[in-house]
């Protein structure tokens, strides 16, 4: 089934949902569908249960971080220069809002086809990082969504047991984000070598002597 077919079929059976085909220029030809988080659970349940697809197996769930970028473009603007209207080139800079993306790779064990790829986006990377959990639909998403929560900081609403999974409970940041900076806590280093000692020294000047 092509992504176009799936899109039209899903849109026919779930009113109000929005799907967008994300094309993939690579030779793999694995195109994906971006779904809106509000209808995600309904779409997922439909894809799992509806007859021609029967995507009963959710293989891979993963996060991708897309930080905001500064895009500069050249724009031609009409301006009054010395009293004469002239066309002047200006560089306009715009800042895009970054987002976190969650990717689901679905297969069908019954019909032996796939992958069908779903993507969901958060609104930004700081506050509005909530997405609906698909663990109630596919149990296999349980640990993988926990991992995304742990490493990327996406909060999955409806997840039965959303805790850190790879990092320890007291850990605060999300290490897989692209702007992650290692914390300034030298105590976690197993052996004190040059760089660590230097960091410990800086730490002490900030915090005061031990």
């Amino acid at each position: 089934m092509t992504p176009e077919n799936i899109k039209s079929e899903v849109e026919a059976s779930i009113p109000g949902c929005q799907l967008e085909i994300v094309s993939n220029p690579s030779p793999s030809g694995q195109h994906s569908l971006r779904i809106d988080p509000a209808h995600a659970v309904a779409i997922a349940t439909f894809l799992r249960d509806a007859e021609p697809l029967r995507l009963d197996y959710c293989s891979n769930v993963t996060g991708v971080d897309w930080p905001g970028k500064e895009i500069s473009e050249k724009v031609k603007v009409k301006k009054l220069v010395d009293g004469v209207e002239q066309e002047v080139e200006e560089i306009r800079k715009t800042q895009t809002i970054g987002h976190l993306e969650v990717v689901y790779h679905l297969f069908s064990m019954e019909k032996k086809h796939g992958p069908v790829i779903l993507r969901m986006r958060t609104e930004d990377r700081a506050e509005r990082v909530h997405l609906p959990s698909l663990t109630p639909v596919w149990r296999s998403a349980e640990f993988q969504e926990r991992e995304i929560f742990d490493l990327y900081g996406v909060i999955f609403d409806g997840h039965p047991d959303l805790r850190r999974i790879l990092m320890w409970d007291g850990f605060e940041d999300h290490p897989m984000r692209r702007d992650y900076v290692e914390p300034d806590d030298f105590e976690y280093e197993p052996t004190a070598h040059d760089e660590v000692l230097e960091r410990a020294r800086q730490h002490r000047t900030v915090m005061g002597p031990l």
Binding site: S26, R164, I165, W168, M176
Partner: protein, 389 residues
């Protein structure tokens, strides 16, 4: 991963505790691991027990977490190849293959025929040694101290010698390359491999006779940890654990990656989905692996081992993404890559089969005795290097 509490703790507020001073019906929280000898590495289970019976079990891992995916984002595509060896360190060659396959999909690289054959030979040998070692460890966990494990390790050692003469390393092989393999087979390797393959039927016969109808093995495994078909599919369980529950799904048959469509082999299926089926399925899969191995050793052609058009240095695939997966000995091993056109992957993701198979551990263990937890965990076959990444 949560920080460890005291190893054994009586739960004060559990409803079963109220109104009883004799200890009857008292719930006990036990921390199994992380240094428990049966946990196959650094793995912990938070178990709540009612007497001997498991009421709740939460797997806790992450002790070996080194953020493999983040390291790979700062590494070139080829630079990650040696790291994949360290995922499931028993089966480095299949890890190599899964990663190479994903990159080949991403960049559209063709693999020459001889290289495909070498990949299949090494992958099936890897599957053989993994299953043999697993059965050894499983029986070790049941108290068959040493003997079956040493039988398995005797054969494993011969396979590792073959790997060493081919790749230079016993376990950390780092052998596959995008579009082929690193070096060609050394002189006489095929004959050695054929000679070794000829001894395997005898080993399988012996190994099966040693264990299959053993009374203790049957008593400890039959009816223990039953995994139903529907639940296995929904929970994303793959590999021998899935097929022991009777689901006919083998990526070698479904995707026909490499040249698996040329080989005649069967996919063994279990009926009950219990621990005994999971044990038996490994024995049967070893027989099928041997069939594939014999066909590949017979048919391997001469020719180049790597696509001459692929660039090893300065390899930069065009922007895009790809998900490549293979049937690794423990289940579906997948790599998901996003390229932004530079020499480093923008996103590099390992879909670990061991970690997904752990999803069902709690459901399999609830209601069984605490001693069965060890056996059920052993039959799932995990390697912490791949779970924690």
């Amino acid at each position: 991963m949560s920080t460890a509490t005291e190893p054994v703790r009586i739960l004060p507020q559990s409803p079963a505790n109220s109104g009883s001073d004799s200890g009857e019906g008292q719930l006990l929280e036990v921390s199994m691991g992380p240094q428990h000898p049966s946990t196959h590495g650094v793995f912990r289970m938070d178990v709540v027990l009612d007497g001997e019976r498991v009421v709740r079990l939460k797997p806790v891992f992450g002790y070996l977490h080194r953020n493999h995916e983040k390291i790979a984002e700062h590494e070139t595509y080829l630079g990650s190849m040696p790291y994949t060896d360290r995922l499931d360190y028993i089966c480095s060659l299949t890890n190599n293959w899964a990663y190479a396959l994903a990159v080949e999909k991403l960049a559209g690289i063709q693999v020459p025929e001889r290289a495909e054959y070498i990949r299949i030979i090494t992958a099936e040998m890897t599957r053989f040694l993994n299953h043999a070692a697993l059965i050894g460890f499983l029986t070790q966990d049941m108290g068959a101290s040493g003997t079956p494990l040493m039988y398995a390790f005797r054969e494993r050692e011969t396979i590792l010698d073959l790997f060493e003469s081919l790749t230079g390393a016993r376990m950390m092989c780092n052998y596959m390359r995008f579009g082929g393999c690193r070096v060609d087979l050394p002189a006489g390797w095929l004959d050695q491999a054929k000679k070794f393959a000829a001894t395997l039927p005898r080993f399988l016969e012996e190994f099966e006779r040693l264990l299959a109808t053993n009374e203790i093995l049957m008593a400890r495994t039959q009816g223990v940890g039953v995994l139903s078909k529907e639940f296995a599919v929904n929970a994303g369980v793959t590999g021998p654990v899935l097929r022991a529950s009777g689901v006919n799904y083998d990526v070698r048959k479904v995707d026909k990656y490499g040249i698996y469509d040329r080989f005649a082999f069967k996919v063994p299926l279990g009926e009950h989905g219990d621990t005994y089926d999971r044990y038996m399925i490994r024995l049967l899969e070893m027989r099928e692996s041997l069939k594939i191995l014999n066909q590949a050793l017979r048919d391997i052609p001469e020719g180049p081992i790597v696509d001459p058009k692929t660039k090893i240095r300065g390899f930069k695939p065009k922007p895009g993404e790809a998900y490549g997966r293979i049937e690794a000995p423990k289940g579906e091993l997948g790599f998901y890559l996003i390229s932004d056109g530079t020499a480093n992957p923008y996103r590099y993701r390992v879909r670990s089969s061991c970690m997904m198979n752990l999803t069902v551990l709690e459901d399999l263990c609830i209601g069984h005795n605490v001693a069965d937890v060890v056996v059920i965990l052993g039959s799932i076959d995990i390697v912490m290097g791949e779970v924690d990444r």
